[in-house]
């Protein structure tokens, strides 16, 4: 039984809800959150050992409150490093245990809000954040609020929240959010400037955060046209966290974009092994196909088909629509995601799924919304151009597809091929 399954089994046994978008239960929780938070977990990594150590200290301590908070954040970090989202509900139990002991604890509420956000329970996270902002107004309170607003597509509000965070504390966390906003709004130059500043404000003692920042920089450097800088940034991330899955994915995408399929596979395979999420599996499958390793690609796609809908419905919807598979399911998944997460990428996924289902008129407003923030991202532009072409808007299509073509190194090989086909007929 792999790690995520064992955790899910544990959660099922304890009666905890581990689903995304699960509304807060009206009834009392079935289990004692403190017992759940302090239940021993398997694992032998240094992080696992640290979790076990803190759990033991918390069991013995007269006042375990600071230890419960630490435990919660350790579990969040474990979720990020392992890609196993089963750690998030456990982190939430730490927060709930702490809240039971200290109902007004700001630290517990921030932890709770962060975990809710990671579990895609954005509205609940927003409520937690709003209360924190009202009652404390710390930089990370505004950060959480901005994150929740951003995921729900309320970019202007998110900018306001992030600005408050920046005004209180220019740090890695706030500057990387600012960088993302700039990128989202189409200002890649400023995004790169800010992400470099974010890296400068980091520490090798928090290698995962720094690695994440360098990983973002890697993809933006590639967008800016510098494969060398993109690979260097990915290398910097991997020097900090050698098996950092997002950095391996970024490296793989850079190499795939350069046609270095074998090297790309060497990076993408371990990334997908660590995090068998649609984004990782799809990219690996494309790299394998590009390298004419069809049987391997099909095995990866089979795994993606088995797990994708539950793991990441939005990306899975894109995969289904892009590969001409079940367009109806793609529409259903994307529409369900939009109800919770109304950002530009979800609008794009729905637009693409609707287009795959032949529902072009329904797709159009979503495609327009996908570009409404000014994001100059390859896939958004490619999809919008394709839809414009399909809708007979040739000038729009030429413009959008030309812009996508300039960024095509960030598209998957099949997307690049489709892009070129569509441009050729315009």
């Amino acid at each position: 039984m792999n790690r995520s399954l064992s955790l899910v089994a544990l959660l099922a046994l304890l009666g905890c809800a581990a689903e995304k978008n699960d509304p807060a239960p009206a009834a009392a929780p079935l289990v004692d959150p403190c017992a759940a938070a302090l239940a021993s977990l398997p694992g032998t990594t240094p992080q696992d050992r640290e979790i076990a150590r803190v759990q033991e200290e918390a069991r013995q301590a007269r006042d375990p409150s600071p230890l419960l908070e630490r435990l919660g954040w350790l579990l969040v970090a474990r979720a990020r490093s392992s890609g196993d989202e089963g750690f998030y509900p456990l982190a939430r139990q730490s927060a709930l245990c702490l809240l039971r002991r200290r109902p007004e604890s700001f630290e517990a509420r921030l932890l709770d809000g962060h975990v809710l956000h990671q579990m895609h329970r954005f509205r609940e996270a927003e409520e937690v954040a709003k209360r924190l902002v009202r009652e404390r107004g710390g930089p990370f309170d505004f950060g959480l609020l901005g994150d929740a607003q951003m995921e729900q597509g309320r970019v202007a509000e998110a900018i306001g929240s992030y600005q408050r965070m920046l005004d209180l504390k220019p740090c890695l966390q706030s500057m990387s959010r600012a960088a993302h906003v700039c990128w989202l709004k189409g200002d890649r130059t400023r995004a790169l400037e800010l992400i470099r500043m974010a890296a400068g404000a980091g520490s090798r003692r928090d290698p995962e955060s720094l690695a994440w920042v360098h990983t973002r920089r890697s993809l933006w450097e590639l967008e800016a046209g510098s494969e060398t800088e993109a690979l260097a940034a990915a290398a910097e991330a991997l020097s900090l966290v050698p098996d950092h899955a997002p950095a391996l994915l970024a490296r793989g995408r850079v190499l795939l974009g350069a046609g270095r399929d074998t090297e790309a596979i060497a990076a993408l395979r371990p990334a997908a092994d660590q995090r068998p999420l649609p984004e990782y599996l799809w990219t690996l499958a494309e790299a394998l196909r590009s390298a004419h390793r069809i049987e391997e690609a099909e095995r990866v796609e089979a795994e993606l088909l088995r797990s994708g809908a539950a793991a990441d419905p939005r990306t899975f919807a894109l995969f289904l629509a892009s590969t001409g598979r079940d367009a109806a399911e793609a529409v259903a998944l994307a529409r369900a995601e939009l109800a919770n997460r109304a950002d530009v990428f979800t609008h794009d996924a729905l637009a693409w799924a609707l287009a795959a289902a032949g529902r072009l008129e329904e797709a159009r407003p979503h495609a327009e919304r996908a570009l409404s923030e000014g994001t100059r991202e390859a896939r958004l532009l490619y999809h919008a151009g394709a839809l414009a072409a399909a809708g007979g808007r040739r000038e729009d299509a030429r413009r959008l597809l030309l812009e996508a073509a300039a960024l095509q190194r960030l598209l998957l090989p099949s997307e690049r091929a489709d892009l070129e086909r569509r441009r050729a007929v315009l």
């Binding site: 630490r70 220019p170 800010l194 520490s203």
Partner: protein, 479 residues
């Protein structure tokens, strides 16, 4: 009076966002914890020089726990950070308001970018020679708020190379293979790199910015390990073997208006303000946002509660009375001492500690400028080439180290809390003060109490820049 052990503190452990690691002294405030380049370690302030040319020496350490030799290109001053040392004079002292601020901004350049050798192209003979690739320079400005708040450029300087080993032999013994050289007693004996990077600026200011050994010493590991302290001979300097980056400036006392006064000193680090909105936002008074602050040692680490550490770091000392006075007047550490160690508990030390708040509120290091220069620590009382100055005590006034003060008409502490010198055992001084009662006359002195780490792991310089030679990346205690 029997020495008492430092008692368990509640550990200010992890707080904040995913990925943050346990706090410890030098990295205490939750949300400053991992911004190394802007994270202050210590501030030093003391009288130096001669009666004819007296200085207020100021120093700020940043980059806690710099591992020697780890990536020579990794530990540099951050160009984006505004590093400041502030001096409060006259009425500004009680208010916690900076009268004069000394601002340091850094720039980085490379002599050769077409190489993977970021810092050293060869053995560095002289600072900024052809073999020092990455080179940082800095500009020092003075902002004097007496009158119109004029900003004056005092001058510029160059940062010496970090100590890597063979590439930087002048710091070390045995041509770079051996440990870093001990600190020295005269300027003529300083290693070449350090000597070459002490700059005299306009108006008699002297500056140095560069890597140094971390001169703070305490058994932080034991203190933060549920205060399970180690005995004499077993206790360890947790900062031992680490470097920091230090900014030091000698301010002519004449520039401050003379020596018949007390000056207050603190430091801040700030990062550029980032604005996302192109219009419609608030008008900002400064292009920088303060992210770190430090005055006296141990205030934020040992007295301010976790929930307020970040607030401390982003506020000015002008707000200390309103925001943080309670932490000084009702020090939790004193309660823990009574609860966990002292048998019987000492009455009256837990509350109404106006003596403690007089030190920390506002959190400026107060320096009596009227005294002769401070006594300096070298390598201990018996060091063969660089002993401590006669009369120096790591325990300052609790060790009999006092200085006559023409300003007060009596004696004042020779070290912290009258200024803070390299070599002051601030942990032992603080705990001794807490279990004593300085509110009465004569004061009741109990202790000394401490953590059984009674000296630094390296030999200080007794000349500017005072901090010890940076640890050799090739040969240091962590190996």
């Amino acid at each position: 009076m029997h020495p008492r052990k430092l008692v368990p503190l509640l550990i200010p452990l992890l707080c904040g966002m995913a990925g943050l690691v346990a706090a410890s002294s030098h990295m205490d405030a939750p949300l400053i914890t991992l911004d190394d380049a802007a994270n202050t370690t210590d501030v030093y302030a003391f009288v130096s020089g001669t009666p004819e040319q007296k200085f207020l020496t100021l120093a700020l350490g940043v980059y806690p726990f710099e591992e020697p030799g780890i990536g020579p290109n990794k530990f540099n001053f951050d160009e984006k950070v505004l590093y400041e040392l502030h001096v409060a004079l006259g009425n500004d002292l009680a208010a916690g308001r900076a009268t004069i601020s000394y601002q340091f901004r850094f720039e980085t350049r490379y002599k050769n970018q077409a190489t993977i050798l970021q810092s050293y192209l060869g053995v560095i003979q002289d600072v900024d020679d052809a073999n020092q690739n990455l080179t940082q320079t800095y500009t020092v400005k003075k902002v004097d708020r007496r009158g119109r708040g004029r900003s004056t450029t005092l001058g510029t300087g160059i940062v010496p190379p970090n100590n890597q080993g063979i590439a930087t032999p002048e710091y070390n013994t045995n041509a770079g293979e051996g440990p870093a050289r001990d600190g020295v007693a005269s300027a003529a004996q300083l290693d070449r790199y350090t000597a070459q990077t002490i700059f005299t600026l306009r108006d008699g200011y002297r500056v140095f910015c560069g890597q140094r050994e971390d001169g703070f010493y305490a058994d932080i590991q034991a203190i933060f390990d549920l205060l399970r302290l180690r005995g004499a001979g077993q206790a360890r300097d947790s900062q031992g073997g680490f470097n920091i980056h230090m900014i030091a400036i000698q301010v002519p006392v004449a520039e401050l208006g003379g020596d018949l006064q007390v000056a207050g000193v603190y430091a801040t680090t700030s990062r550029p303000r980032v604005t996302l909105r192109s219009s419609g936002g608030p008008a900002y008074s400064s292009p920088f946002v303060q992210v770190g602050r430090q005055g006296n040692p141990l205030f934020c680490e040992g007295l301010v509660a976790i929930q307020d550490k970040d607030l401390y770091n982003r506020t000015k000392p002008t707000r200390d009375a309103a925001l943080f006075r309670r932490y000084a007047e009702t020090p939790e550490l004193a309660s823990l001492l009574n609860l966990l160690v002292l048998m019987p508990p000492i009455p009256g030390i837990e509350t109404q500690r106006t003596d403690i708040s007089a030190i920390f509120i506002p959190d400026l290091i107060k320096v009596d400028l009227s005294t002769d220069r401070a006594r300096f620590a070298g390598g201990g009382p018996s060091h063969p080439t660089n002993p401590d100055d006669p009369g120096f005590s790591r325990l300052s006034i609790f060790g009999g180290d006092v200085l006559p003060s023409p300003l007060s008409g009596g004696n004042v502490a020779g070290g912290w809390p009258n200024g803070r010198r390299f070599g002051d055992d601030v942990v032992d001084i603080a705990v001794t003060a807490l279990i004593s009662d300085l509110r009465v006359n004569p004061p009741i002195i109990r202790g000394p109490a401490g953590d059984n780490v009674d000296r630094n792991d390296a030999v200080y310089n007794k000349v500017f820049p005072y901090a010890a030679t940076p640890m050799n990346g090739r040969n240091h205690p962590h190996h």
